[in-house]
Symmetry: C2
Subunit: 186 residues, 2 copies
Amino acid sequence: MNAAKTPQTPTPTPAPTSAEPLPDAPSDAVDAITAQWAAVRPDLETVPMAVYGRIYRIARAMGERMDKEYAQFGIGRGEFDVIATLRRSGEPYTLSPRQLSATLMLTTGGMTGRLDKLEKAGLLRRSPDPTDRRGLRVSLTEKGLALVDESVTAGLAAQTEVLTSALNADEAAQLSALLRKLLAAH
Amino acid sequence: MNAAKTPQTPTPTPAPTSAEPLPDAPSDAVDAITAQWAAVRPDLETVPMAVYGRIYRIARAMGERMDKEYAQFGIGRGEFDVIATLRRSGEPYTLSPRQLSATLMLTTGGMTGRLDKLEKAGLLRRSPDPTDRRGLRVSLTEKGLALVDESVTAGLAAQTEVLTSALNADEAAQLSALLRKLLAAH
DNA sequence: GGGAAGTAGCTTACTCGTAAGCTACTTTTC
DNA sequence: GAAAAGTAGCTTACGAGTAAGCTACTTCCC
């Protein structure tokens, strides 16, 4: 009835590739998965599997946490990203839909939907671009500016809380540096 | 016309929190974002923002890469996850839909859709559970077993390629350990 | 200066997930 | 051993994204 074989011992040296569940570190769900793979397919590398497996899970877990934070302000993560992009672009908090969809790696169709929702909520305003009649300018309203300032603080507090509970300042800096190198390879 | 303000210099000490774009490290899109925030909201912590920003982007980039790998075998990432879970559970490569949806953190409705598609493709088979008439048993077919073995190898090769191009073995192990600690806090 | 090519934003059709509700069956409890 | 509660899997309604195609406008280029 167990959901899956639970590998009792994360076998000291199960894979061809070195150190996985270091002696002191407690084993987690990802260790269980790599151990299962090592049992049935010992030819597979477990380190990359573990790294990306954890990245994927952390991204998902923090994403859900962020959703909850932003829900307090009546917006979703997607909407937050839009108003946050406007906010950090500085005064007058104005960008075009195209700039927004490019920055957020979203199709224009998806952006139209987000802007509709935010405009209806009174957080931003669409106005014609005076220099190009094809285009629009999207600006944060007073209400939008106030809301984004509150919600970014709340969201960041959540991230900070989890990060500092897990890692000290040195480790966090080290992690950031390693992730920068990894991201550069993508 | 630029999509966003491009911060020329990642200012040596812009934020209250220490070392961000280390002297040698090239600055990336995430550095640009944190620099923008530091300019308009200098009270915000930039380290957590950078860590989670990079985690999110790496997860997304590798996700897209995986989609391409699996597309060669005619499946998507979601379908791959299902047959991979069956594969690593070991012989007889059989689990219930409930076990699968629990393991993959998916609703039962979502699992029904994935199973429909995989069954139609001949990669797995649904049969009644002999001990519980409410339940089903989902098993990999010969074809499914062969396909998952090929696709897991291809996917892992892609992950290994990117990881080893960015980090040496020590760094990768270090990253894995830091991520384990961070994941544990979620 | 006029036609070709490019760009901006919106709409439509489709995909794939969730949430909630359904039926069928099993387990618990008195 | 019958009623109540729980569990398994499917269906339906809905949400939010993509891809492709549309119209309107601008820019390029001869």
